[in-house]
């Protein structure tokens, strides 16, 4: 058994134990290591000032690190077991600025400087990943890689210009700058061994097999942590600090996507970025939605299963999973069982899951021939915002008639709901404006929203109605984001 968390920081090995294992990465960097270039602004992963770059030894690309940006303010040290962490201080070459940094200087990309280290890290990771994938960088891609970073000074114009002015010939990838081989040797060895770190008040267990995870859960009241994109926020904002933590990231099969003839299985530790990259052919509409779902930083940490288990009524993935007929695969002492996701949510944040069970993964049936998916997410700001209303539909149009239509709506009640009345009204009907007008009115009265900070109940009703009408208009005009 290993009694420390194993990481590298800017190329240097660090064994993290005791209290430090339970700190957020940003606190650890700033207060324990004096690496104060990493800034903290919102403490909830919404501004990107705390962005650092990580290479995760669990998820290699062609045998090397796939360096990605993450929010350090909501990443606990223990979930970074097996990672090489690069901070803004790790980008310079001695006294010389890196090309990304130099371009930011040349183009007035920094004003007050507080968001700058985060931008530099996100930009560096964006360039590196596009080079690695052999893709060309353009303005839209540059913006996409910086979606998770807020700046209040520049209006972003000079930052975009800096990003596009980077001389790729001068750009030195981190995989070259740091000796991946040596770093990987230590990290892969460490993560193949169970780890357990304890302080007076907290403990974390990182097993390497499903079996020992199941056993741990059997005896103890344990909090499961995957990406911690939610728990990190609750820790920072509400002082929530689970005494006993079980992390699944060192269990290899948890990070896998398994494709079969009729379905896809997504493991509990698979993050959204991985889904976006690997399931484009199977679920194009869904991967497109993930694109605006969250920032790159969050997508590199947050898992689909986290979204499912969190059971938020505005969980962005749930409407899709519902209309797709996904099943939640649970595992416990008595083995595995599957629950249809439409039956999984019993009430507000109440799940059909026993105390000694946890979610192993989710199984999504592949679309059958003729089946189409339509997904909408509406929010006050298009990118990186929590939804007001989410909408999903799976349907077949045959001979101008709607066949097998299912509709799910989120943000309009205590749980994501299937709009059964609306479905019934549309089922078998002509694909026609009048039919949709009527059904939209039904949907408007079928939903049960409340007022909150993101929008009034009235607005949510109008949106529900409008999204069905938008569905009609787009289908009619043959506007589709998906290839389906």
């Amino acid at each position: 058994m290993r009694d420390y968390i194993s990481v590298f920081i800017n190329g240097e090995p660090r064994r993290i134990s005791g209290k430090e294992a339970f700190m957020t990465l940003s606190d650890y960097l700033r207060y324990e290591r004096g690496l104060v270039g990493t800034k903290v602004v919102c403490s909830e992963g919404d501004c990107g000032a705390c962005t650092v770059i990580i290479g995760n030894s669990h998820k290699l690309k062609n045998g090397d690190f796939d360096y990605v940006p993450v929010n350090s303010c909501i990443s606990f040290m223990h979930i970074l077991d097996g990672c090489h962490i690069i901070t803004v201080e790790g980008l310079k070459n001695d006294e010389e600025l890196s090309e990304v940094q130099d371009s930011m200087v040349r183009n007035h990309g920094a004003q007050c400087g507080f968001c700058t280290p985060g931008f530099v890290c996100a930009m560096n990771a964006g360039i590196e990943s596009s080079l690695r994938d052999g893709k060309e960088m353009n303005e839209q891609k540059m913006k996409n890689s910086l979606t998770g970073n807020l700046c209040r000074c520049t209006g972003y114009k000079s930052i975009i210009e800096a990003g596009l002015d980077i001389d790729l010939k001068k750009f030195e990838p981190l995989s070259k700058k740091y000796d991946s081989k040596t770093i990987l040797k230590t990290l892969t060895k460490d993560i193949s061994v169970d780890a357990y770190v304890k302080t007076e008040s907290n403990e974390v267990f990182l097993p390497t097999s499903l079996k020992s995870a199941v056993e741990t859960l059997k005896d103890k009241d344990v909090t499961l942590v995957s990406g911690a994109s939610d728990l990190g926020v609750l820790y920072n904002k509400r002082g929530l600090e689970p005494e006993s933590i079980l992390g699944l990231h060192n269990i290899k099969e948890m990070s896998e996507i398994i494709k079969s003839d009729d379905s896809v299985f997504i493991g509990a530790r698979v993050n959204l970025h991985q889904i976006e990259e690997e399931l484009r052919d199977e679920f194009y509409e869904f991967t497109h939605m993930i694109h605006i779902f969250a920032s790159p930083q969050i997508k590199n940490r947050a898992t689909l299963i986290g979204n499912v288990a969190n059971a938020s009524p505005i969980g962005d993935s749930i409407p899709f999973l519902m209309v797709a007929g996904a099943s939640v695969v649970l595992i416990g002492p008595s083995g595995e069982r599957e629950v249809e996701i439409n039956d999984f949510y019993l009430g507000y944040k109440k799940l059909d899951m026993k105390a000694d069970e946890f979610i192993k993964g989710i199984k999504i049936p592949l679309l059958k021939s003729g089946e189409k998916i339509k997904l909408y997410k509406t929010s006050n700001r298009k990118d990186m915002d929590i939804s007001i209303v989410t909408f999903a539909s799976k349907y077949i149009i045959e001979n101008d008639k709607l066949k097998d239509i299912s509709v799910a709506v989120g943000g309009v009640g205590p749980v994501v709901m299937r709009a059964r009345k609306t479905e019934k009204e549309l089922q078998g009907q002509l694909f026609d404006k009048d039919v949709f007008d009527k059904a939209a009115a039904t949907l408007k009265s079928e939903v049960t929203p409340i007022d909150d900070v993101r929008g009034s109940a009235n607005f949510r009703r109008i949106l529900s109605k409008n999204l069905l009408l938008k569905f009609y208009a787009e289908e009619k005009l043959n506007i589709s984001r998906g290839r389906n």
């Binding site: 700033r30 690496l35 104060v36 270039g37 990493t38 800034k39 602004v41 919102c42 403490s43 909830e44 919404d46 501004c47 000032a49 803004v88 201080e89 980008l91 600025l97 940094q101 930011m104 200087v105 007035h108 920094a110 004003q111 007050c112 400087g113 507080f114 700058t116 280290p117 530099v120 913006k143 979606t147 970073n149 807020l150 700046c151 209040r152 000074c153 520049t154 209006g155 972003y156 114009k157 002082g239 509406t378 929010s379 006050n380 700001r381 298009k382 990118d383 929590i386 007001i388 909150d452 900070v453 929008g455 607005f459 109008i462 949106l463 409008n466 999204l467 938008k470 208009a473 005009l477």
Partner: protein, 769 residues
């Protein structure tokens, strides 16, 4: 000559490498404590008692202090009425009640839960209308008027009236309020603050702690953004951290987290403006009456001056012959609203721009034509308060941007698009800014600078300007380097400190470079004059070893030039390196340091009658924006924005372009997605970026063109430059007017109801009604 060059920000290299030091990046001193505050749990009530005993028992808690521990508990930039810690009346939710010093942050959070407050709640007043109905105001009514309004309305072919409402705006500087205090010997205290106004911070700290001003030094290295939010409101935090440091005789820091910062600090003022306009068949404005009500929140803070600037910008870019502008600040039970880039200007300006859209719609004309017709031009160059719009560039700007933005063609295209599209609507609008430069409080238009030249020829400059990202230090660096003909790298602008520059004004009103740049130039010129004299005597020769060069300023030495680190007589070619000249000057006991004072001449606005020279000059600009709105969701994309700004002769075009784009996008945020949501108890619900949405990189205009107008006429400002910080903020409003334009296409009867911000909810609800 470094002036006019696109040199990088003086902190750019350390910003990108993460080496720039902000308050919380300072290494912890031995014994340094952390501090936090407890905010009141209700928006309005009588605080009957505070019990801290239980909280004091938490391990790690070092002290908890209340109003009783302060020597003086009232502060205020205009009226000294605001408590630093609540003593009896709670006036807004989260108002600081006590300050807690501890070994760590976790202890503070625990202590907060154990402090017992006994409160008698009072019904809060939360909106402008309620305050108007109750006649609960923070200021008396102000008035600016000209002409005969009654006659204008009686004889006008058309009149319209309406109400314009705008919401507030959170500054969302990335670095929240932060300060640190180090107690020194002899009852002195050193304050480090993220403050736009070190002098006021120094004064408030001294008063509240019972010290004299000479016992307090306030240092501002830099801020991680300010935007006005750290003009007045940095001071009370510094008092609190100073209190802890003095009580416990230990260094202390107070780093406010984003949620607390958003809850406790003031924001841009919401306004509710009642307007009436009279115009002829062509759309020429004949009369305009507007009554402005701003939501000042719980205390006056800077609200009076902000209202005044709103009134002074109620004419926008347009000449109005008969006009009456009235204004009052409402008192409500929310945080005390404060300065925010534009300082009332945006609210006054947004109202008239909206009114112009109404006139255009009424006459079924393109609003561009209405603007073109009414803009300050020809003989119509006097504002309602009697100031001449001198060197007016507005007509040139509107004609140029009409062409560069391809306005006419796009207007046609948009009409066609809107007729055809089933899913989206587009809108297009141009709006302007004619922003008055100067503090309207005349006494603030003063600055001082200290310039020290060292023997190696490098220079340290200290002024009262504070650096918050806007690049004032870079411009000062360029001005000093330009004066001596040396590279900018040989000039270091030092941290702002009240020890070196006293009685300074806040870095605000876009005037940081104007005032401090000019003071720096004067100080440099004083040193240069002495060096020139030394040069002259030196080259005349005939000096014996016992002679000492005396400075003689009687001779005209304007032919002696400082360029490329060399001093040269342009008449006879004599030259010497600057460094050598300095050495000669030093050995001849000539001072190479100087201090200078500058005050903006010619200002004189009589507040009582609302007439006079309120401003030194105007910074002008216009923007054309096009939006695409999803009819079903209200999602708005800014497809294109074109900006043309008149910034005089820019000292640093790169920095100025950054100010324009940054201000525009911030303004765009204010008019679209930035929405402050309060509960019916007055609790701010949108207090972090999860719920308060400033523009992200994806929200920027898809096509974003910024150009600067060539203008060499601004002879009243340093190097003929113009102030840039606030003026372009007003142009973000072109996006709101474009949205309004789009709604005229889809739902003409509801367009007048559009409020600011035009959120998705606002748009969808108007389209659905």
């Amino acid at each position: 000559m470094s002036v006019g060059k696109n040199v990088p920000h003086d902190s750019a290299v350390t910003h990108v490498s993460g080496e720039s030091v902000f308050i919380d990046d300072r290494p912890f001193l031995k014994n340094e404590m952390v501090c936090g505050f407890l905010g009141a749990p209700v928006a309005h009530g009588i605080l009957k008692s505070i019990k801290i005993e239980k909280a004091l028992g938490i391990p790690g808690i070092l002290g908890i202090y209340t109003h009783k521990d302060l020597a003086s508990n009232r502060w205020g930039a205009i009226v000294k009425e605001q408590p630093i810690l609540v003593d009896s009346l709670i006036s807004y939710e989260y108002e600081p009640v006590c300050v807690i010093a501890a070994e760590n942050y976790k202890a503070i959070e625990k202590a907060k839960k154990l402090i017992e407050l006994e409160i008698e709640e009072i019904e809060p007043i939360l909106c402008i209308q309620k305050s108007i109905d109750n006649e609960d105001f923070l200021t008396a009514e102000k008035k600016i008027a000209r002409g005969n309004l009654e006659e204008a309305f009686n004889s006008a072919p058309h009149t319209l009236e309406g109400v314009f409402e705008n919401g507030g705006q959170e500054h969302f500087y990335l670095e929240s309020h932060a300060c640190a205090a180090i107690p020194l010997e002899n009852n002195q205290i050193e304050i480090h603050s993220s403050s736009q106004h070190p002098s006021e911070t120094q004064h408030v700290v001294a008063q509240s702690l019972g010290l004299s001003y000479h016992q307090v030094v306030c240092v501002v290295k830099r801020m991680g953004g300010g935007f006005g939010g750290k003009e007045s409101q940095a001071a009370p935090f510094a008092s609190l951290v100073g209190l802890c440091a003095r009580k416990l005789k230990r260094p202390a820091r107070m780093i406010i987290n984003k949620d607390d910062d958003m809850k406790v600090t003031g924001k841009r003022h919401p306004f509710k403006n009642f307007w009436k306009v009279a115009f002829d068949n062509e759309g020429k404005i004949l009369g305009y009456k507007i009554k402005l009500f701003s939501n000042g929140g719980a205390y006056t803070d800077l609200s009076e001056s902000i209202l005044e600037r709103a009134m002074l910008h109620s004419d926008g870019c347009y000449y109005i012959p008969n006009v009456e502008i009235l204004g009052r600040v409402c008192k409500t039970n929310i945080h005390s609203n404060t300065a925010f880039r534009g300082f009332g200007g945006p609210q006054g300006n947004a109202t008239i721009e909206s009114v112009i859209e109404e006139i255009a719609h009424f006459l079924k004309k393109d609003s561009f034509k209405i603007r073109e017709m009414n803009i300050y031009q020809g003989d119509n160059l006097h504002t309602p308060y009697g100031q001449l719009v001198d060197h007016n560039t507005l007509p040139e700007i509107i004609e140029k941007i009409k062409v560069s933005s391809d306005y006419d063609r796009r207007r046609k295209e948009i009409s066609e698009f809107n007729k055809a599209s089933l899913t989206h609507i587009k809108g297009l609008a141009i709006t302007g800014t004619k922003f008055g430069i100067a503090f309207t409080a005349r006494f603030l238009n003063q600055a001082n600078a200290l310039v020290n030249m060292h023997l190696d020829g490098t220079i340290q400059v200290s002024t009262g300007a504070t650096e918050m990202g806007q690049g004032v230090n870079t411009k000062i660096q360029q001005i000093a380097a330009g004066a001596f003909g040396i590279p900018v790298t040989q000039v270091q602008v030092m941290p702002t400190s009240t020890e070196k520059n006293h009685n300074t004004s806040p870095t605000a009103a876009s005037s940081g470079s104007d005032l401090n740049g000019m003071a720096t130039l004067i100080a440099c010129n004083k040193i240069k004059q002495r060096l020139t004299s030394v040069f002259n005597t030196h080259f005349k020769g005939n000096l014996t070893p016992s002679d000492e060069i005396e400075v003689d300023s009687s001779e005209d030495l304007s032919h002696i030039a400082f360029e490329d680190s060399v001093v040269r007589d342009t008449k006879n070619g004599d030259s010497i390196s600057l460094k050598e000249l300095i050495s000669i000057a030093y050995l001849n006991r000539v001072s190479m340091g100087d201090y200078a004072f500058y005050k903006t001449p010619g200002l004189g606005f009589d507040k009582a009658v609302g007439q006079g020279q309120a401003f030194n000059y105007y910074t002008n600009g216009m923007a054309v924006s096009e939006v695409l709105i999803d009819k079903f969701t209200g999602e708005t994309k800014v497809l294109r924005s074109d900006i043309l700004m008149d910034l005089g002769r820019s000292i640093n075009p790169g920095i100025d372009m950054g100010q324009v784009s940054g201000a525009f996008v911030q303004g765009m945020g204010w008019v679209t997605a930035e929405n402050l949501v309060y509960s019916d108890k007055g609790v701010l619900l949108s207090h972090s970026p999860t719920t308060y949405k400033i523009p992200s990189i994806q929200d920027t205009p898809r096509e974003f063109n910024i150009e600067l107008l060539e203008n060499n006429t601004n002879d009243v400002c340093v190097h003929r430059s113009k102030a840039v910080g606030e003026p372009p903020f007003l142009l973000g409003n072109s996006v709101w007017n474009a949205i309004k334009d789009a709604i005229y296409f889809a739902k003409p009867e509801n367009a007048s109801k559009l409020k600011l911000p035009a959120t998705c909810e606002e748009i969808v609800t108007l389209l659905d009604e």
